[in-house]
């Protein structure tokens, strides 16, 4: 057991994957000597060489497109998109090629490509550096979409994603890169929670609070605050955004009868919509009140001096939780 920041945990997970399988490659802008702008790939090129940790031209479509080709040749590329807002030049390669190649080949082609995307706001950055595009990928069949929220999961999930034979969009919570938690490098990956399962991070009985990525910490803090007010909030870290672990989600909501979904992305058309709609379809008669959503406004991500208003914080989450009781 060792305590690592989320960024270092990812680094350790990538290192392990590179060691375990010579077919694993890391590629992206500035992933080599610089170690990535968040240092997630720090030191990897030095140890695994320029052929396995590939500094690429500045072209995201190129990164994903060539990763597809490398996968066709039997490699398992792990692509870094430098910031969430820069995944869009690669959107076509992701949704029309990467996601569809298996079906196009009737299962004869496997696309074990992992796309790491540092995502979300809260770091005082300029435009395009604080986006949360997960809903776009969760609406795209053929992709798996996951989000890690802490070092422990980050270490296991990045390795699971790389081992997964499906393309995985791997969201990393930018503003939690420096949060620390325990990581057990000796643990058997097979013993880890499967990649497609959600985790109940805080038990509760009154209301279910669903979240993922950077919002997990916020939601846990909200739940702790709510507890002080006598309200028992169950917090679930979804981890897998596509597919959703409806078993865990529904199980909780059926017990509590109330639910709030929180994410940074705009509420309108966000993942919360899918989650709310699905819960409502599947648990309608157990619901005491409508599933509420709390998240970004229906506006572009604002300049950083306003981001504290845009991002759902402890108070806004609590407000939503309260509203599920305000019948």
């Amino acid at each position: 057991m060792t305590v690592l920041t989320l960024s270092k945990a990812l680094n350790a997970g990538l290192r392990k994957a590179l060691e375990d399988d010579p077919r694993v490659l890391v590629m992206g802008e500035d992933v080599g000597k610089l170690g990535g702008v968040f240092r997630v790939t720090d030191g990897l090129q030095k140890d695994f060489g320029e052929d396995r940790v590939v500094d690429t031209p500045l072209a995201e479509s190129g990164i994903i497109g060539t990763a597809i080709g490398l996968a066709l040749r039997g490699y398992r590329p792990v692509c870094e998109i430098q910031f969430d807002g820069f995944v869009f030049p690669a959107f076509d390669q992701i949704v029309s090629q990467l996601a569809k190649m298996r079906l196009r080949s009737l299962g004869q082609v496997t696309m074990p490509v992992t796309i790491r995307i540092p995502c979300g706001g809260g770091i005082g950055a300029v435009e395009h550096h604080s986006e949360s595009p997960e809903a776009l990928f969760a609406h795209t069949a053929g992709l798996r979409v996951v989000a890690c929220a802490n070092s422990t999961d980050a270490y296991a999930m990045i390795q699971q994603s790389i081992r997964c034979d499906d393309p995985v969009i791997f969201f990393e919570p930018k503003r939690r890169y420096w949060d620390k938690a325990e990581v057990d490098p000796a643990a058997n990956l097979g013993a880890a929670l499967p990649l497609d399962r959600a985790r109940i991070v805080l038990d509760g009985t009154d209301v279910t609070l669903l979240c993922y990525g950077p919002m997990v910490r916020t939601c846990v803090e909200s739940a702790v605050a709510a507890r002080a007010e006598g309200r028992s909030v169950e917090v679930i870290d979804l981890r897998s955004l596509s597919p959703l672990d409806m078993e865990t989600i529904n199980g909780s909501v059926r017990r509590t009868g109330r639910c709030v979904v929180a994410h940074e992305a705009a509420v309108t058309g966000g993942l919360g919509a899918e989650i709310a709609a699905r819960i409502t379809e599947e648990c309608f008669y157990q619901l005491e009140s409508p599933v509420l959503r709390v998240g970004g406004f229906s506006t572009p991500y604002p300049p950083s001096r306003l981001e504290d208003h845009y991002l759902p914080d402890l108070d806004r989450v609590l407000d939503a939780v309260d509203r599920t009781f305000a019948v």
Binding site: S61, G62, R73, D166, M246
Partner: protein
């Protein structure tokens, strides 16, 4: 011999601009004239036996026959659409026959001739156009990737594959290379230019084979470039050249040399095969809306098959029996393609849910179950 390009599309000369001397005239590599005369090119010596040339002729005829049959099948409603290669047989057979068994080819949606050279059963091509699958063959089996419809995307796949060849240490004397096919229109896509960059920066073992058939649906070449396309490569720092795309010998020679250079580690080459799309863009297209019949007539005189036939007949390499034999074989093949098409079963409804993911997916599995139950709620057996 080097001939001036005399196609419908010519270089508009040097654009007005700063400090640029007028460039040299476009040079097109040719080894067999439209009249069927064998000519030499100092850089592309090609020694072929008569039998080898006859094999190429056979390829050309058979490939055209597949195409003709497919068009007919589409007209009869058996295929949803077909993208004809009419006129481009030499470019495809010439380049396709230049590939070694370990080279990997990445096609667009029109490379039926290359598919043929790679040994893919032509009836497999029909699945996509009939709407039975989105492709469905195993790219590894014949080293022939799936058809790619989104213009230009495959150039990056091929480049990545070539980078994989490098990482496998398979560059060198006994090396492998990739070849990627794309059209004149595709050269305008960002992806294709990014592929040029990646291939040159990493010196990847790849040949970019552009079939300039002078049209991107209704858009003439002038909408994509104001200079000959092969010159694009120079801006990225690798060689580009133009070959007579209706000359199977030249296409073979040029592709062979470029592939060998790639295999040996000399990096990418862009080949522009200057040809002409003699048919409609696809069976749903109506080219009379945007181009003149005279243009087509002019290109008929440069037919890729006729010139080989003329050569074979003039030199006495082929007699009537041979030609008839090939035609008979073509008819057989046409019949086989037709029959395979007519017999092609529709996929089962629940196939919709297959091959989306490698592993189980709870959500999709639930959807499959629901839909199966829904179908059963009708007549049980029949609908499924």
């Amino acid at each position: 011999m080097t001939v001036d390009a005399d196609g419908a599309v010519t270089a508009p000369g040097t654009p007005a601009g700063l400090d640029r001397p007028p460039g040299p005239r476009t040079e097109t590599i040719q080894l067999l004239t439209p009249e069927g005369e064998r000519v030499e090119h100092p850089d592309y010596p090609l020694e072929l036996t008569d039998d080898e040339i006859k094999d190429l002729y056979r390829d050309l005829v058979l490939v055209r026959r597949i195409d003709t049959e497919a068009i007919a099948l589409q007209r009869q409603g058996e295929l949803g659409i077909w993208a004809s290669l009419l006129g481009q047989e030499a470019a495809q057979v010439g380049s396709g026959r230049a590939l070694g068994p370990r080279d990997m080819a990445f096609p667009t949606y029109r490379e039926h001739g290359v598919a043929w050279c790679r040994g893919l059963d032509p009836t497999r091509l029909l699945e996509l156009f009939r709407g039975v699958s989105h492709g469905g063959w195993d790219p590894a089996a014949h080293k022939f990737h799936l058809y790619t419809i989104v213009i230009g995307s495959q150039t990056l796949h091929a480049t990545g594959y070539a980078m994989g060849i490098q990482r496998d240490g398979a560059v060198g004397e006994d090396g492998e290379a990739a070849i990627v096919y794309f059209g004149d229109g595709a050269t305008s896509q960002g992806d294709v230019n990014e592929a040029f960059i990646w291939a040159s920066v990493f010196n990847a073992p790849i040949v970019f084979f552009c079939q300039n058939n002078q049209w991107a649906i209704s858009e003439p070449l002038e909408r994509q470039s104001r200079i000959p396309l092969y010159k694009r490569a120079s801006g990225f720092g690798f060689p580009g050249l133009r070959v007579d795309g209706n000359d199977v010998l030249a296409c073979l020679a040029v592709t062979r040399k470029a592939m060998q250079a790639a295999r040996e580690g000399q990096g990418p080459t862009l080949i522009e095969a200057f040809t002409y799309r003699m048919g409609a863009h696809t069976t749903t297209d109506d080219p009379t809306r945007y181009r003149l019949a005279s243009e087509l007539q002019a290109w008929k005189l440069k037919d890729p098959i006729e010139r080989v036939k003329a050569y074979l007949v003039r030199t006495g390499a082929a007699d009537a029996a041979f030609l008839e034999g090939v035609d008979a074989e073509a008819d057989d093949l046409g019949g086989r393609v037709r029959q395979a098409c007519l017999e092609m079963p529709d996929p089962q409804p629940l196939a919709i849910f297959e091959n989306v993911y490698a592993g189980p997916n709870a959500l999709l599995d639930a959807e499959r179950e629901q839909y199966a139950a829904y179908l059963d709620s009708f007549t049980g057996e029949e609908a499924r």
